[in-house]
Symmetry: C2
């Protein structure tokens, strides 16, 4: 068990419990206590001096603190580690109104992680992998019994295991005679269950002797940027190994549109198909080797990807995906032999490809919906996968509606002056001293800042808005007494870190254009949700829970996302994060045939809205181009906080 320690911050008189080894400035951030800090935690700006009044911290000593001050107990917060209970005094400028210190504390919190519940599946009797092995001992043929090998196997599976409507593939017919005679007609058959009850079970593989305890499946998420695979033990449901790699197609374009453009060139489709197959094969080989399983025991692979990734893998020309009226070639795919799409798996392995709903709501989203069980739940759920594009699904067991929102790349740092992906040096956390307007920055890896990542952008905007540094249009209050707000080439900005505090030797600032881009992005998503809801006669208030998927969902500060109007205001307890939902759905499908049966019906019943062609969308979008929204009544908690603050500021 992790030891915890109590930190008391003065003069705020606020206590917080943290794990042993926590960084002091992160603890302050967590406690909602502002400490000036510009260098992201690298300890070079020297601004985050605090006084350790009781107890001891580890580290925090620096050239920037004189021997005398050190002996008094001064330390750099960003270099201090908590190893016991301490009382910390944060120097506060005398100009600061004490009331600021008692501002209502909104803890930073990200979404609760929700694990796929395999046990639920087992308890409900739904742990029914689509492939299964059966070991059987057959009587040997003799002068009284000339049953052909295939008939012998099929009829005894029928007799002793109640297996009906069996079919046998040619590769199995080819193997069977020798396999049967290798171990005295003791044989293990791998059966692939039909998707529909009316279908047939196919014997896809046979092995000599009893190998029925070894059967594996592969789940694969084919992302535009990254591809993840898991090797799953279909007896236990355990993930035996997993691996992710960049999609080899990246060299041919970063987003789906540039991939489609490349695919339209001579030989382009073949190339992109081959490259992603290679990526998948690399991952497959790695997870198979790592788990030390016999490739012959792998019985199925389930693949989920967006519509373009799916078409490229299947070598289906995606050119019409990017042309109005944006129709995909197909949304449903038949079971396909893995070798037929260039996968380095045995002949008998069937590839199951997740169906899509439309050109921009693909199999990855459907996999998420299936994996998260949206379609089985009474609660009205908002499912969001925010990445390069944002896909949203709203609904419950009775209805499902979905749409893709052109959010643009703001959440991944695109279109932001100092935007960057969530990598070391990216500002990911931020607070603001409402008296001095000095920032507290934390970067990934506690380095001097390089830029701003998506989650940092949301936090900054939310904090600045709530404290009045920017207004509900995202414009800076130019009257504030701070040199950090300035005009540069006609664009107003707030300097987060001065050149000498950064890794890039330039001032890092957040500009009004950046904020405008963020507002457009969150507006596109929020208005997408509103549009789906109003089209079915409901509103945001009806939403019972939110499920976040995709990398973005793991680190976004929920309250801040609600403050800027990206998410509707809802009890954060009701927001869960399910990680790579596409991979999760693929894994779930590997474990229960029920999902494969349901998915066809689900995709058929999902109403897809092409937002650009939905009348109400543009109105909703314009109304969402504010912080958080034109209609503050949709954000009652924020409204109350703002009113309180306003009152205090006045009082």
């Amino acid at each position: 068990m992790t030891t915890t320690h109590t930190i008391k911050f003065l003069p705020h008189n606020r206590e917080i419990k943290v794990n042993d080894g926590e960084n002091l400035i992160r603890a302050a951030m967590e406690a909602g206590v502002h400490i000036n800090a510009s260098c992201g935690g690298e300890g070079v700006c020297g601004k985050c001096r605090v006084l350790v009044e009781q107890g001891q911290v580890q580290g925090g000593v620096s050239e920037q603190i004189s021997t005398e001050d050190r002996e008094k107990g001064y330390r750099l917060a960003c270099r201090s580690t908590i190893t016991g209970d301490v009382v910390i005094r944060v120097p506060v400028e005398s100009a600061v109104d004490a009331s600021v210190l008692s501002q209502r504390y909104v803890p930073r919190r990200t979404a609760r992680i929700r694990q796929m519940d395999l046990n639920d599946l087992k308890e409900q009797g739904l742990f029914l992998p689509p492939v299964e092995k059966i070991y059987i001992e057959l009587p040997e043929p003799d002068n009284q019994d000339h049953l052909p090998d295939v008939t012998r196997l099929v009829s005894h599976l029928k007799l002793h295991h109640d297996e009906h409507r069996l079919t046998v593939s040619l590769p199995v017919i080819r193997k069977l005679p020798d396999v049967l005679r290798k171990d005295g007609f003791r044989v293990t058959a791998t059966l692939a269950r039909p998707v529909m009850d009316s279908g047939k079970t196919e014997i896809v593989n046979v092995q000599p002797g009893d190998t029925s305890d070894r059967i594996y499946g592969i789940a694969m998420d084919i992302g535009t940027t990254t591809v993840y695979g898991q090797l799953i033990d279909l007896k236990s449901g355990d993930v035996l190994s997993e691996h992710g790699d960049f999609n080899g197609q990246i060299s041919y374009g970063e987003d789906v549109i540039s991939r489609i453009v490349f695919a339209e060139k001579e030989g382009g489709l073949d190339r992109l198909h081959k490259v992603v197959a290679e990526t998948i094969n690399g991952i497959v080989n790695r997870i198979v080797r790592r788990a030390r399983v016999d490739p012959d025991d792998i019985a199925a692979i389930t693949l989920a990807g967006n519509t373009t990734m799916t078409q490229l893998l299947l070598k289906v020309n995606p050119r019409y995906i990017r042309r109005s009226p944006y129709v995909p070639a197909s949304t449903l795919y038949p079971p396909i032999r893995a070798v037929d799409i260039g996968l380095d798996l045995r002949d008998h392995v069937t590839a199951l490809v997740y169906p899509a709903v439309s050109s921009y709501v693909g199999g990855d989203i459907v996999a998420g919906v299936m994996g998260a069980g949206l379609y089985l739940d009474d609660r009205l759920t908002l499912f969001m996968d925010i990445g390069t594009n944002a896909e949203i699904v709203i609904g419950n067991r009775d209805w499902l509606a979905c749409a893709a929102c052109s959010a643009g790349p703001a959440f991944e740092g695109g279109g932001i002056k100092f935007g960057m992906r969530a990598a070391k040096g990216a500002i990911e956390d931020f607070s603001l001293d409402p008296a001095t307007w000095e920032p507290m920055l934390m970067t990934i890896g506690n380095q001097r800042p390089k830029g701003i990542c998506g989650s940092g952008l949301i936090i900054m905007t939310a904090v600045m808005f709530e404290l009045g540094l920017i207004n509900n249009l995202g414009k800076f209050n130019r009257d504030l007494p701070t040199g950090r707000i300035r005009e540069d080439n006609g664009v107003w900005e707030y300097v987060l870190a001065w050149a000498d505090e950064t890794q890039i030797d330039r001032d890092i600032a957040l500009t009004e254009i950046d904020i405008e881009n963020l507002i457009r992005a969150k507006g596109a998503i929020f208005s997408g949700c509103i549009t789906l809801l109003t089209e079915v006669g409901m509103g945001m208030a009806d939403i019972d829970r939110i499920i976040l998927a995709g990398g973005f969902g793991s680190y976004v500060d929920l309250e801040k996302a609600m403050t800027i109007g990206l998410l509707p205001e809802i009890d954060p307890e009701k927001v869960t994060f399910i990680g790579n939902s596409s991979l999760m759905g693929a894994k779930m499908s590997s474990l229960t045939n029920r999902i494969r049966k349901d998915v066809v019906e689900v995709t058929r019943s999902m109403t897809n809205f092409e937002l650009s062609e939905t009348m109400s969308y543009m109105d909703n979008y314009v109304a969402a181009l504010f912080l958080p929204h034109t209609d503050m009544d949709q954000f009652p908690r924020l409204k109350e906080r703002m009113a309180q603050r306003h009152g205090k500021a006045k009082g």
Copy 2:
């Protein structure tokens, strides 16, 4: 219309009508009139001198006839062609009892040829090819209609053509987007019907525009020796082109056993698979080119072959076929993509492989049974395919039993001292002068004899037996006053042609060992039939009709075959010949899905007897090792003829 002429033979006073251009000696053979002849019809032995008493023949003049005799009207019968009514006097040795001339005349006749009745099929509403094309005009997608391409096609086929439960293959998904847009969403879909009603119809191909009048299938018979293919217009049922070729596997062994032996060698199976696929591809390319059809319009290929040929084509190791207890890998095969078995056809072409019953009653026989409609008929039918092996099927709509008889190669000239295949120079017809014991021979191509083919062997043996040259054990009557019966190296024989009358410069003779081999062969087949019948409590007399298949059935003299006990005595009118039944069955399956539905049930319900393991078979076999059989009561017509002759000989 063919002109016919009347020939009157004297002193027999027998008249016969023949077609214009008939050879005179063949006409005599047909009329049952003996004319001595040893050179097979080449005109060199000069023995067949006849006198043209009225009318004229064309030709027949020879150095062997003096000018004087020529002017009198003497001609060589074997070189004379009938061009008008004539009266012919055959010189008869004075020693000949006139009664011989009035012996009851048994005309030579082969089985009536029975054509597959496509019209019947059409009248019964069974002309339902398993593949079909539908032309459809789809609405184009627009801002209000984003249906994916596949959904668009499927849903409109459902709406306008009542096509339900459609599936789409990956190659079609790949083609569809461009095909749809090539001709304004006017498209022709090729549908493959399921075998079972519960199955799904698959869209296997799509083409731009209306191509629905062009859809073709291929029927292929894969024989051990020869492979035949037909290109069939599935709209009309017409055969557009056909071609046959030697099975390329011949270089690796003449019969199935030697092929299996070769297949067991390293790389042998691959080689044999490849070679027969090449043979098939050669035929396919030829019939496609000859009929000038677009390969894209070929939708299916149906293949029929014996169990070994089938396994070799499908690359399924046949080693256990030749090992007791002789079990095949499978009797049923799933629909297979033609390209997967190395066939040079488009991706979308499905290969339908005829199921087998056992290792030695293969898909070729099943195809025959299906094509001939045995399983639909009330009449008890004996179906025989006599080739290297002889397969027999007995039954009707209620039951079917089958067996393979190890007849040995006697019917193809194997194991016969001067045996040869039915090629030019093979003695194919024979008669015997019961006074002088001189032969009348006719060869294929009217050449000097080279040897004896199967049908000739049967005729000789029947004639010799009926005239008393051999007894019911097949032994020569050594007391007869002719130099043609002699002992050579301890083996008794009858000289058919002296060395100088042959092409091989050796005496051509029929030996007792040859006759013994023939008796064994016919005994194996007859006792096979008896065994099947007695196992179900019936006898030969219950048989309503006989269907002969395979090359052998086309030229065998039915009465002679009954005389030696190869066929049961039955009204020759009730014997029909259906030619290459395997090819016929394959063709029928191309034209009606009904057969494909029925065949699974038929093969399941066919009782296969492994004769070598059936108790009663050996007794039946021993009883059949006589001419025609130990039980003469089974051959009442022959018994009566023999009794009459015996009476005359005595009187």
